[in-house]
């Protein structure tokens, strides 16, 4: 056993760090540090900076413009990225639809879509969940009916993250309602958001922000050559995507940064005669989370090592989403505790660009409660943690 980084890996780490410190747009890092909402243009500027450096697609094959990084390099990259307060690539284009296009799309589709995804010229959103189809995605009802060289799409998609910014949406649609197995009548369709008949309506979340949307399709006509792969095979493709190598799923680096921030805040927060961090009850709770995170980091490293040596991720990788989100939420809760009375004011304007009125209370505290409320989502989205446990129970324990 050995977890020492090689000289090459250390050099890579230094290169990444230097890039974020010197070449990456610092304005965006400052916004992130100030808890401000990023706008569409901010995301694009950030992603284009990574693209120009050749680092936009850490998971893609090299022939399509991917980095060709080893699992360790990806790990180091995301650790440095989180420490530098640099946002992740929006996953919908680069990590979600692109792998499906380069695995299952035809040559024409690859040339049409992949370069613009890589360069962040086109913003993608995801059209999977529906009001009646969440954890049970295969029960989706949005239909696409073939009419000549077009599909006519009707239905509603929901929880569409940042759909208000999107140029294109990738959807799972039902093209055959007569099949016995409901998974079999589902197809994978790419739809231009400017197509007549599409309306996007906001869903506001508990932090008062518009992060998700409903997308309605009313007689939307989509060219048949936007179908990926074979009709009726969409479910198979989507499942490949779901199990597609996703680095950073545990969010270890982000949690480490936030935990350090929590400790700093707790050290600076006086509770009268002494700091919150010197309260043994609070310190013990912080230690619990920190220890859990240390273990999770090594669970992730074990997964990476397995992949580095060419193997498939082991059963320990199934733990990453569950523990990663639990730790994320635990840190959120401790932030609320550290904020104390300052977790009560709800002044959402203070996180909008251009607001210069000063925060109510210290910044970290102003953001604590909204962040805590909103981050209840992390154990719900991407397959609830209950579903994740079902997967472990079946696939790992064989129950």
């Amino acid at each position: 056993m050995n977890i020492e980084l090689t000289a090459e890996e250390l050099a890579f780490q230094a290169e990444v760090r230097s890039f974020f410190e010197n070449e990456y747009p610092q304005r965006i890092r400052e916004k992130i540090k100030a808890g401000q909402e990023l706008e569409r243009a901010d995301f694009i500027e950030s992603q284009k900076a990574l693209y120009n450096r050749g680092w936009a697609a850490d998971n893609w094959p090299v022939e399509h413009g991917g980095t060709g990084w080893s699992p360790t390099q990806k790990y180091l990259f995301h650790r440095e990225r989180a420490r530098a307060a640099v946002p992740q690539m929006m996953p919908f284009g680069v990590n979600m639809v692109a792998p499906i296009i380069y695995h299952f799309g035809n040559e024409e589709q690859q040339q049409r879509f992949l370069p613009d995804i890589l360069a962040s010229n086109v913003w993608w959103c995801q059209g999977y969940s529906e009001p009646g189809a969440g954890s049970d995605l295969a029960s989706l009802k949005t239909t696409a009916v073939r009419d000549g060289d077009e599909f006519v799409v009707n239905g509603t998609k929901t929880w569409t993250t940042l759909g208000q910014f999107a140029d294109w949406i990738f959807c799972l649609v039902r093209t055959d309602s007569t099949v016995a197995k409901r998974q079999e009548g589902i197809s994978f369709l790419l739809i231009d958001m400017k197509t007549p008949g599409i309306t996007v309506s906001p869903i506001y979340t508990l932090d008062g922000r518009r992060e998700v949307n409903e997308v309605h399709f009313d007689e939307v006509r989509v060219p048949a050559n936007n179908l990926i792969g074979e009709e009726g095979k969409g479910w198979t493709y989507a499942k490949v995507l779901l199990t597609h190598e996703r680095t950073n799923i545990a969010g270890v680096a982000t949690s480490q940064v936030r935990l350090e921030r929590l400790k700093q805040i707790a050290s600076e927060t006086l509770m009268g005669g002494s700091s919150l961090m010197s309260d043994p009850i609070f310190a013990a709770k912080v230690a619990d989370v920190e220890v859990d995170l240390m273990a999770l980091e090594y669970t992730e490293l074990r997964t990476l090592a397995q992949m580095q040596s060419g193997g498939a991720p082991g059963p320990e990788s199934s733990i990453l989403k569950i523990k990663g989100t639990e730790i994320d939420q635990a840190i959120c809760e401790l932030m609320v505790e550290a904020a104390g009375y300052y977790s009560l004011p709800f002044v959402k304007e203070q996180f909008e660009e251009g607001f210069d009125g000063g925060y109510v209370g210290p910044f970290a505290m102003a953001d604590a409660a909204p962040h805590y409320f909103n981050n209840r989502k992390v154990t719900i989205y991407g397959g609830t943690n209950e579903i994740q446990k079902n997967i472990i129970s079946k696939a790992v324990l064989g129950l």
């Binding site: 927060t269 009268g272 005669g273 977790s343 109510v360 909204p370 409320f373 209840r376």
Partner: protein, 367 residues
């Protein structure tokens, strides 16, 4: 032995429940919280007309008798409706503090009649829940005083006509002696106030006093014990409100899981979710028990310890029931549109108010 409420208390509960049913239709509450108004003045007037604002005062003070269970019934039903009118802030916090400091009956009358809004300003940055560290200063100026310093998250501070400020008139940080209660006109020009709504739809303010004229209420330097007792009462009654919130979360979650279908069946049929809801139920009932216990001990010598026990127990319950209700509602649980997330928010606030679970665990252990 019995744990029954009296006939009068049951009638009171029905009356408050009717108020909530009539005035707290979910969409109406959403609109009210989104509006520029801090709360509904007509709702508050109704609370006074129906006599509820007289409940937490003794007959000598002109009130109904200050039976803790009467107030508990009101607050529990308010919790079920997520009522935002500052009943607690005005009658329990301000009125309670004034009563303990021996304020004159006219002042209390204006609170009971709902004519004046008061806010009790005690919290400060850097003191946590340890009010003996209050640093806001009041110095004598002839027969009156002048206050300088900052108060944070003053509940009802946006709407208040009168601010009751706990400030230091002698001693140093950490001394329980030397804290006094002073009354300030909230419109005084020397006051710098930043008003806002809170995460749970109530109102608050950050308030800076700069040589602000103030009148002493009660004995100088003797406000700490009254403040502690007032906050304990407020803590206990917000737990009653929290009990109301949790009952709603539990019943809404049970109902939702029966109707929400995934994999061809209601999600209520999944055992892992059934047990989750059973655990929520257990938390609610354990919370109810310790609430009743604390209320039964509230006029006894060990009231503070009993309140701390209840706060510590509720800290677990409010957190668990709130979080699991959201989780079992899935994505809908984190939307602003659905009421569930707002009950969860109020549960979270209640945990913070008047000392969080850790602070009360430590106080429990020390008493």
């Amino acid at each position: 032995m019995n744990f029954n409420f009296t006939e009068e208390q049951n009638l009171l509960r029905d009356s408050v429940a009717k108020f909530v049913a009539d005035n707290y239709e979910w969409e109406d509450r959403r609109k009210r919280v989104a509006s520029d108004e801090w709360f509904s003045a007509s709702n508050y007037s109704m609370m006074a007309e129906l006599g509820w604002t007289f409940i937490p005062f003794t007959e000598e003070q002109g009130g109904i008798g200050d039976n803790i269970f009467d107030a508990l019934v009101v607050m529990e039903e308010f919790g079920k409706g997520l009522v935002i009118e500052p009943f607690l802030e005005n009658t329990i916090l301000a009125g309670g503090m004034l009563g303990l400091m021996g304020a004159n009956v006219d002042t209390l009358e204006s609170i009971m009649a709902g004519q004046q809004q008061y806010a009790l300003a005690y919290a400060e940055q850097g003191i946590g829940y340890n009010n003996e560290y209050i640093a806001c200063q009041a110095v004598a100026d002839g027969s009156d005083y002048r206050i300088s310093g900052d108060k944070v998250v003053v509940l009802n501070g946006a709407a208040a006509d009168v601010l009751l400020v706990v400030a230091r008139t002698s001693g140093t940080a950490g001394d329980k002696q030397g804290l006094s209660l002073l009354s300030v006109d909230s419109g005084d020009g020397s006051i710098n106030s930043r008003a806002y709504k809170t995460v749970d739809g109530a109102n608050g303010a950050e308030i800076r006093f700069d040589n602000t004229p103030a009148k002493l209420i009660g004995a100088e330097g003797q406000a700490f014990e009254a403040l502690a007792r007032t906050l304990d009462k407020a803590a206990l009654l917000t737990l009653a409100e929290g009990l109301g919130c949790m009952q709603m979360l539990l019943s809404k979650t049970v109902e939702y899981t029966k109707t929400r279908k995934q994999f061809g069946m209601p999600i209520s049929t999944f055992q892992v979710l059934q047990h989750r809801m059973v655990d929520m139920f257990i938390e609610v009932e354990q919370a109810r028990s310790i609430l009743y216990r604390a209320a039964l001990h509230f006029e006894k010598d060990n009231a503070a310890k009993e309140v701390s026990a209840a706060k510590a127990q509720f800290a677990k319950a409010l957190r668990y029931v709130g979080q699991q209700a959201v989780q079992l509602h899935g994505g809908m649980g984190v939307t602003d549109e659905l009421d569930v997330g707002h009950y969860f928010k109020r549960c979270t606030s209640i945990n913070t108010l008047f000392g969080n679970g850790d602070w009360h665990r430590a106080r429990f252990a020390s008493l």
